[in-house]
């Protein structure tokens, strides 16, 4: 069973008197506990696809099936219920919050809005969520502007998993993190995927990160998927021009003493 099936998705924008296709007939599927990465240069349509899948914007054409339901046909309460299963983590996902808001406040919202826990139950749920993402439960009272970038991203992941989603859209979710923190966040995502069977739509410009975490990759160029398949195989031997360019442009760290470390 597929968790997400996207077919012939299209989104056009008008620039002056010209129309251009940001997303131009894109189709892909994601299975349970699977990670599909979208890669491509800026302007290739990666983030537009993320926003379409989340229904933050509406497509001009195409179909999105999520957990077997025609996602674009849903509205009202049915859409809200289904949306709980489809979460997102962006590059700086807490940017939209008042910086003085507490960590508890950030995690309280989804539990309340989706009727997951009563007011009395929520503090325990919040503590459990924090522990699940590797944070101390005492952090709940901290204002979000006082915690580190890595902690913020863990809080964002805790918020995303609060509703027990089947799919999380991650758009450059580790791009702004220090390398030492980035590895830990990727490990956390893998861990959650194994235990909770969550699928990821993982958008990144970084092939090294994609190779570390994704099962499959779709390489985009000008709104179209030009190449898709096993992430390691495609990154090792890309066939498309843009895939070749992405691999060639990725800095290589050649360590002659690597085997002794």
């Amino acid at each position: 069973m597929t968790v997400l099936a996207v077919s012939n998705l299209a989104k056009h924008y008008r620039r002056g008197d010209k129309t251009f296709a940001a997303v131009d007939g894109v189709s892909f599927e994601i299975g349970p506990a699977e990670t599909l990465a979208l890669a491509g240069p800026s302007g290739s349509g990666k983030s537009t696809i993320a926003r379409l899948v989340l229904r933050l914007i509406e497509p001009d054409a195409g179909r999105i099936d999520f957990e077997g339901h025609d996602f674009l046909a849903l509205s009202g309460a049915a859409l809200r219920a289904r949306r709980a299963k489809l979460q997102m983590v962006f590059q700086d996902p807490l940017a939209a919050f008042n910086p003085r808001a507490s960590v508890a406040r950030v995690l309280d919202d989804p539990l309340r809005i989706h009727n997951i826990a009563s007011r009395a139950e929520r503090p325990d749920r919040i503590a459990a969520l924090l522990e699940r993402v590797g944070l101390d439960a005492n952090l709940a009272a901290s204002p979000i502007h006082e915690i580190s970038g890595g902690q913020r991203q863990r809080v964002a992941i805790a918020r995303a998993i609060a509703t027990k989603p089947s799919l999380i859209v991650l758009d450059e979710a580790v791009a702004a993190l220090d390398v030492s923190v980035r590895g830990q966040i990727l490990e956390l995502l893998l861990d959650l995927q194994r235990e909770e069977r969550i699928s990821y739509l993982f958008i990144s410009h970084d092939l090294g990160v994609i190779r570390a975490i994704a099962h499959r990759i779709a390489i985009l160029d000008a709104g179209r998927i030009v190449e898709t398949g096993d992430a390691r195989a495609i990154i090792a031997d890309p066939q498309s021009a843009i895939g070749k360019a992405l691999v060639a442009a990725t800095p290589k760290l050649v360590r002659s003493s690597q085997e002794t470390l």
Binding site: G183, L253, L261
Partner: protein
């Protein structure tokens, strides 16, 4: 080799909400004339503070200790004339309401005492040198007409317009996608070689730094952890922190996390 500038016990502290925060804690290093020196570190390492201190761009309220000694003919180097600076975000370093040609010409006019006519001619040559298409039209274009990579090319053209001895690039490619990043790094490498400039390349990315630098300085929490030839830093790092940075790099040849056995700490 000739030393271009000598930094001795540089300490920098900012005031934040009434509290003093140390950004650099006694950093000493020498920048050799004509070398490409990368300064790498994570957030809070002080790498950008070091770049700003060298350029004389620290805010007046900043507390600074130690010395930065210039061994140029000019003992008080001027930003723009002797030092070119390229920032991370060209959208904020370029004036949105001034044609890009004028922004480049102004640097040449101010520091080289050229006429406007000669300054514009220089600007056009510089647009060609940074490989912007159609320089005759681009000279009159406003920044918003250009892509992120093209804007960074304009910012680089402005930075080198007066023929500086030192070019400082502070995370100059980190807002760009992988392909554009590689193009900008290649451009910087070529311009530095053609003009015989010294390069101070500030980056969070050790792999990127290694593709460009002769030497790498590793900063951590305001202290210089290690400084050495690029090959030595990559192949035989002397400090555990440098090794950790290298190990954390997710290259195209490492074993994917997905396939590693067991649950790491």
């Amino acid at each position: 080799m000739t030393v271009l500038l000598s930094i001795r016990e540089l300490a920098v502290a900012y005031r934040r909400d009434g509290v003093e925060v140390a950004a650099l804690k006694g950093v000493s290093l020498e920048v050799h004339a004509g070398e490409r020196l990368a300064v790498i570190g994570e957030s809070g390492s002080g790498k950008s503070t070091l770049a700003l201190a060298v350029a004389g761009l620290l805010a007046g309220s900043t507390k600074v200790g130690g010395t930065i000694e210039w061994l140029l003919p000019a003992s008080h180097p001027h930003l723009g004339r002797d030092i070119g600076f390229v920032f991370q975000d060209p959208s904020s370093s370029l004036d949105p309401v001034m044609p890009v040609g004028k922004q480049i010409a102004e640097v040449a006019r101010t520091h080289l005492n050229l006429s406007w006519r000669d300054s514009y001619a220089k600007a056009k040559t510089l647009l060609e040198r940074v490989r912007l298409p159609n320089p005759d039209a681009t000279v009159r274009a406003y920044p918003h007409r250009l892509s992120g990579g093209q804007k960074q090319r304009v910012a680089i053209a402005a930075a080198i317009a007066a023929g500086p001895k030192l070019l400082i690039a502070d995370e100059a490619t980190s807002a760009l996608d992988t392909i554009v990043q590689a193009e900008i790094v290649a451009l910087i490498r070529r311009l530095v070689a053609e003009d015989g400039m010294t390069l101070l390349f500030i980056s969070h990315d050790i792999a990127l730094a290694a593709t460009l630098a002769d030497r790498i300085a590793v900063l951590r929490r305001g202290e210089l952890v290690e400084l050495g030839e690029t090959r030595q830093i990559i192949d035989a790092p002397g400090h555990a922190y440098t090794r950790a940075l290298l190990d954390a790099h997710l290259g195209l040849d490492a074993t994917p996390l997905l396939e590693r056995q067991g649950t790491p700490a």
